[in-house]
């Protein structure tokens, strides 16, 4: 009786496996027609303009499927293993160490972070000499920025502690658990709203490294130049429009029905957020390219993401410039 049951179960599971494989085989050709984009974070106000750019690309006939993953690492892994076609992030370390040719082909944003200190204790960079600061994580962009400033200002922090999440660091700053840290633009606005005058944003200049970029495997770029060109052109034209008129992002949201479940207070945040970024020239109007790559080499060798001398790194080992050059030839440089 029991034997019979196990036999039946085995048979059933075998059938299920066969059906699964069959389904997977059927599903493959359909999946190929789509461009699968892996994003290492949840969809939020911060990437509304990217979603709008993809809507534009969709209108021009490129079928894009977004997948939201837990972290940038995982998005990069998905691209390396071929489970996604295009990733969003800045995987310089991965490109240097993994033997698969993965290349960045478009810069989406540069690092926009603001060193914030409690005005009760510190006023300038020099005051941070011998003090403890908090950054996102070891080897992160925020750590590299703070190390760069340490070098530039000739100071030395006593300890760098790691608190992942800008909103967590902002909260810690507001509660007084942390006296000096580095936050993103949303955090900066929150600090100014909740406690005007209580915190000082320290000046930061000469930092122009990639925060997010689009990257893909070289073989994908070679096989799908049409789709890639449409995406690059869509992003560049969208970025230019947002810089000209930041309020348009909110209009796109209603037009394309992007993030329909966004709570009202966050909807109100959209225009101020993009206005500030546009004012700060945060949207690369020409998609980065060689100059951006050089800036990144200098910055990411310092942060420990990249190994070796910045001058010895080759742009073509990290960037595929052809799609960008083709797109700029079409839409012109700005």
């Amino acid at each position: 009786m029991l034997k019979e049951l196990t036999k039946k179960l085995c048979g059933l599971s075998g059938l299920a496996v066969a059906a699964g494989i069959g389904l997977a085989l059927v599903a493959v050709p359909q999946a190929e027609a789509k461009v699968r984009v892996a994003y290492g974070d949840i969809a939020s106000v911060e990437n509304l303009h990217l979603l709008a750019a993809f809507e534009l690309a969709k209108q021009r006939g490129v079928d894009i499927e977004m997948t939201y993953l837990k972290s940038e690492d995982i998005a990069a892994q998905a691209v390396v293993s071929g489970q996604a076609d295009i990733g969003v992030g800045g995987p310089y370390a991965l490109m240097q160490k993994v033997k698969v040719p993965v290349r960045i082909f478009l810069q989406l944003s540069t690092l926009r972070f603001y060193p914030a200190v409690n005005a009760e204790f510190y006023k300038t960079w020099k005051d941070l000499n011998g003090q403890e600061i908090a950054v996102h994580s070891r080897g992160s962009g925020t750590e590299a920025i703070m190390k760069l400033m340490e070098e530039k200002q000739g100071i030395k922090f006593s300890k760098i502690s790691y608190i992942p999440g800008s909103e967590v660091r902002t909260g810690a700053l507001l509660q007084g658990n942390v006296k000096a840290t580095i936050v993103d633009s949303a955090g900066r606005r929150l600090l100014q709203e909740k406690a005007p005058g209580k915190f000082i944003i320290l000046p930061l200049d000469g930092i122009n490294a990639t925060d997010e970029a689009l990257f893909a495997r070289q073989d994908f770029l070679d096989k799908n130049p049409g789709d890639v060109d449409v995406i690059v052109e869509s992003v560049i034209t969208t970025w230019r429009e947002v810089t000209k008129n930041p309020a348009i992002v909110a209009e796109w949201r209603t037009k394309y029905k992007l993030l329909p479940d966004l709570p009202a207070d966050q909807v109100a945040e959209i225009t101020p957020y993009f206005t500030e970024l546009a004012k700060g020239k945060a949207f690369p109007l020409n998609g980065g390219g060689e100059a951006a790559a050089k800036d990144d080499f200098a910055f990411y060798t310092l942060s420990g993401q990249l190994q070796g001398e910045p001058a010895s790194l080759k742009v073509e080992d990290f960037w595929a410039l052809e799609p960008l050059n083709r797109a700029l030839g079409k839409v012109g440089t700005n």
Binding site: V80, S81, A93, Q96, K97, V98, S137, R138, Y162, Q305
Partner: protein, 276 residues
């Protein structure tokens, strides 16, 4: 051509007694050898899988071993474990004291059992990885949160084992205590707890195993420190061999700790099990 064969044969023939001695020794340690072979086979499969490679982020066994040795020698493991063991040791100590205490009380009193047992049965069944982010909302991101994560995983196992051990203390021993006119205190300290101690100790061992899971979850989900920091950092800069070495090290440490505890348990608390 035949000469070397003969020479070979004769050289083999001379030390017969030595060879048989060798085989006897070998068969004495047969279990240990099979275990070694199993581990060796696993490493071989790993090496092959890394060389194919099954994924571009999957290092070979030898690369991982090299990273492991380097990280051991340069002190990164020592520094990492100094940090990781803090919440683990504090959490396990607290869980042991509270867990055994509660377990004994619940085993002795039906009222306490009804009051407390459901909480721990639910906690044991709950997916803890989903609850750990909630701790950070209340207790922030420091040592307290990580210690709590360890306690949340370790405590239910220790409490439930302790309670079952006390509840199922040998009734004839308890009856014997009655007939010798032992009072309640003597019954608990001289009969029930000694009788229950092997199972209570087994609960502690399982609690420690759960505590290892708790501390690693906390270090990966709350803030990266210690061994969790090694894993996340090396992943973020694509040093996959180092990342795997860190993962292997935590498996090794927890396996060795648990094996040592089990050996201690067999030697001290359960001599009858050792004989069999």
């Amino acid at each position: 051509m035949s000469f070397p064969v003969q020479a070979n044969g004769s050289s083999r023939a001379v030390p017969t007694s030595e060879a048989s001695f060798f085989w006897r020794k070998l068969s004495e340690h047969r279990t240990a050898l099979w275990r070694l072979a199993s581990i060796g086979l696993f490493f071989l499969v790993w090496e092959i899988a890394g060389r194919i490679p099954i994924s571009f982020a999957f290092p070979t066994f030898l690369e991982t071993l090299r990273a492991f040795v380097t990280m051991t020698l340069d002190g990164s493991f020592v520094a990492a474990y100094a940090e990781t063991l803090q919440p683990l040791v504090i959490g396990i100590a607290i869980s042991a004291v509270i867990g055994i205490g509660l377990g004994i009380v619940m085993g002795l009193s039906r009222f306490a059992e009804w009051l407390v047992a459901p909480v721990f049965i639910v906690l044991q069944a709950a997916p803890m990885a989903a609850l750990i982010p909630l701790i950070t909302f209340v207790y922030g991101i420091g040592l307290l949160s990580k210690t709590l994560a360890v306690i949340m995983l370790a405590l239910p196992v220790i409490v439930l084992n302790g309670y079952k051990a006390v509840r199922n203390a040998n009734p004839s021993l308890v009856a014997m205590c009655y007939s010798f006119q032992g009072n309640l205190w003597q019954r608990i300290t001289k009969i029930i707890i000694p009788d229950a101690s092997p199972v209570i100790f087994a609960g502690l061992r399982l609690g420690l195993a759960a505590g290892f899971i708790g501390v690693i979850l906390a270090e990966l989900l709350i803030t990266p420190t210690g061994i969790g920091d090694l894993i996340t950092y090396h992943r973020s800069v694509a040093n996959y061999a180092e990342m795997y070495a860190a993962v292997v090290s935590i498996i090794l440490v927890s396996t060795l700790t648990l094996a040592a505890l089990e050996a201690f348990e067999l030697r001290v608390l359960r001599p009858e099990k050792r004989k069999s």
